[in-house]
């Protein structure tokens, strides 16, 4: 089970995410993004969607994965609360995500993330697992 924390950045939200392995890192990063977006992650009826991401290497793949989840929220009004990664390698990712409809009347709104940036992006591996630093433009 991974963990995350917020690092300081003058204008934006900077996340430090840690996972036991790549799989765990990507799921934890998705959870961190959900917390940034809606604070308390909603429960309730879920609708399942397939999410695909691509990139050249894990850094680009991580940005693309989070961009896809962000678009689900901002473009389609659903928040992915469960993330089941079916396939992942350095170039591709396929996941099944359980999504809840976002109801602004019932759910808390937190931060309007404009985008997941490539700025200061790093994914590193050490003997404790895998970690990443990501800056979200808000």
């Amino acid at each position: 089970m991974g963990s995350w924390e917020f690092l300081d950045h003058t204008a934006d939200v900077r996340l430090f995410v840690r996972g036991g392995d790549i799989h765990d890192l990507f799921i934890t990063a998705a959870r961190a993004l959900m917390e940034v977006l809606v604070g308390v992650v909603p429960t309730g009826d879920l609708e399942y969607r397939t999410v695909r991401a691509e990139g050249e290497g894990f850094e680009e793949l991580l940005v693309d994965w989070l961009r896809e989840l962000l678009f689900l929220f901002q473009g389609e009004g659903v928040i992915a609360v469960k993330h089941d990664i079916i396939e992942i390698d350095r170039m591709h990712l396929i996941a099944r995500c359980g999504c809840a409809a976002f109801d602004p009347m019932k759910m808390s709104m937190a931060t309007d993330v404009k985008a997941i940036t490539y700025h200061d992006l790093v994914v590193t591996e050490d003997d404790r697992g895998v970690s990443a630093r990501i800056v979200c433009d808000v």
Binding site: G75, M109, T111, K114, A115, T117, Y118
Partner: protein
């Protein structure tokens, strides 16, 4: 990083390594300390490595650490061998400010202020993911993207006199909706006429002080007069355009062999297919933002008329001006005595044109272009006017706001346990906010002292003070 102080308001980032030109930061003795604490100066140096950059990589006194380009950064590129970069414009394409004056004095609205703010809050959707009262079909959306603020005016939401007082007449040429992704179009359908969140706001204010009578009169401003400011941009559509093209340009940068120190600086030669497509898409987003602010202006006028029971003639709610502060533009500038066509990127910077410049709209040609500098919600905003020196030194650019000093996380910690709305009310400022974090993240201490920022651009000769505005009622997204 070592900076070399040139005079009271100028610090040079010396040309080292792969920098093609030096950097130049405008600031003062106090603010430069904050600037040196974060990574803004490194970003000024990074921008100076991009192909075709001319004279200097510039930064305004409200500069701070962004991503790729610093916020408050200005960079001009040669049209033949230079680049265009989505990161040099930012996610919120044509984020900007419009200022509206009225014929009313502060006393006339004091008793009605609360009702005005409540009704404006109801009329103009704000906050995270806010959807508008308008739903655009495909044809209308295309028309918004190519016609900008004119689209709204043609539908009865404002008049020609609003367009005259908008930068570029509220329409950017060269917009081609085909350059936009499906996602960008989807995100644009329901967000026209929405304020958004973050630092965006709608504010009722009063003219607190006039520094230049003649220019203030030309702008329609007088001491104690009621004004309205709208700060918003191109919403999700603009963010999506930037995001889409950053991904595309990452590949272009590799293909062209452009070595960039930060992936967020991804760019394409101005004349390449990708460069041209980005420009067309950016122009669409710029037009969306102008239409967005025009629609919100219309609804603001409706609320004022209804709540105060006054006619348009009695209110005289006329536009002062509308500026964009996140944009790339093709402009003609004189460099080393020669006129050249350049692409100026302003990311958190405003255009500053002097009296007599052909691009200053007719009503202001004799005094110069109005420049709108929003401050934080607790202090003040400024109206400035453009200067010759800005044309000579900064590709006609100046600052755009107060500029953050505290991160949102630090601001929230500072605001913890405080009733921010109450604190502001005690200072005579009524605030309504959509998001629960909005007020905490935007506390006045999170920003630089706007008085200092403005004094620095005036000291450096990049613009001149005309009037100061004090907020009395604020809607935060």
């Amino acid at each position: 990083m070592e900076l070399v102080q040139r005079d009271a308001y100028r610090w040079e980032v010396p040309k080292t390594g792969r920098m093609a030109v030096p950097g130049l930061i405008f600031s003062d003795d106090v603010m430069i300390e904050d600037i040196l604490r974060d990574r803004g100066p490194v970003q000024v140096a990074n921008v100076a490595t991009l192909p075709g950059i001319l004279t200097h990589s510039l930064a305004m006194p409200d500069m701070h650490w962004g991503y790729g380009f610093p916020i408050g950064g200005v960079a001009a590129f040669d049209i033949k061998n230079g680049v265009i970069s989505p990161g040099g414009v930012g996610y919120d394409i044509n984020c900007g400010v419009r200022l509206i004056r009225t014929e009313l004095e502060h006393g006339r609205i004091k008793k009605k202020l609360e009702e005005l703010i409540m009704e404006l809050f109801r009329a103009i959707p704000s906050g995270v993911g806010s959807k508008g009262r308008l739903h655009l079909n495909e044809k209308d959306e295309r028309s918004v993207l190519t016609r900008g603020a004119r689209w709204a005016v043609e539908r009865g939401m404002g008049g020609e006199e609003d367009l005259v007082r908008t930068e570029d007449g509220g329409v950017m040429e060269g917009a081609e909706p085909e350059a936009l992704s499906e996602r960008a179009l989807t995100r644009g359908k329901d967000q026209l006429g929405t304020l958004g969140s973050g630092n965006h706001f709608l504010e009722i204010g009063v003219v607190d002080e006039v520094y230049d009578d003649r220019t203030a009169r030309a702008f329609g401003l007088f001491t104690n007069g009621v004004v309205v400011q709208i700060h918003s941009g191109s919403r999700g559509l603009g963010y999506q355009v930037c995001d889409d093209f950053l991904k595309i340009m990452g590949r272009v940068t590799a293909r062209e062999g452009i070595d960039i120190p930060d992936r967020q600086l991804a760019c394409a030669p101005i004349g390449s297919d990708e460069g041209r497509e980005y420009y067309s898409a950016m122009a669409c987003a710029a037009n969306y933002a102008w239409a967005n602010r025009q629609v919100m202006l219309h609804w603001t006028r409706e609320v004022f008329m209804r709540v105060l029971n006054l006619s348009p003639v009695e209110l005289k709610m006329n536009m002062v001006y509308d500026v964009c502060h996140n944009i790339a533009k093709f402009e003609r500038h004189t460099i080393d005595g020669k006129k050249r066509e350049v692409c100026v990127h302003r990311k958190g910077a405003t255009r500053s044109l002097p009296p007599g410049h052909p691009l200053v709209p007719g009503p202001y040609r004799d005094v110069g272009q109005p420049i709108l500098i929003p401050g934080d919600m607790g202090t003040a905003s400024y109206v400035l006017v453009g200067t010759e020196n800005a044309v000579a030194e900064t590709f006609a650019s100046t600052c755009h706001g107060a500029g953050r000093v505290l991160s949102r996380k630090a601001a929230k910690q500072k605001a913890q346990g405080r009733a921010i709305a109450r604190e502001l009310e005690d200072q005579g400022i009524l605030v309504m906010a959509a998001g629960k974090n909005a007020l905490a993240e935007e506390i006045p201490e999170a920003y630089k002292d706007v008085d200092r920022v403005v004094a620095a651009v005036e000291g450096a000769g990049l613009s001149r003070k005309v009037a100061r505005l004090k907020p009395i009622g604020v809607i935060k997204g």
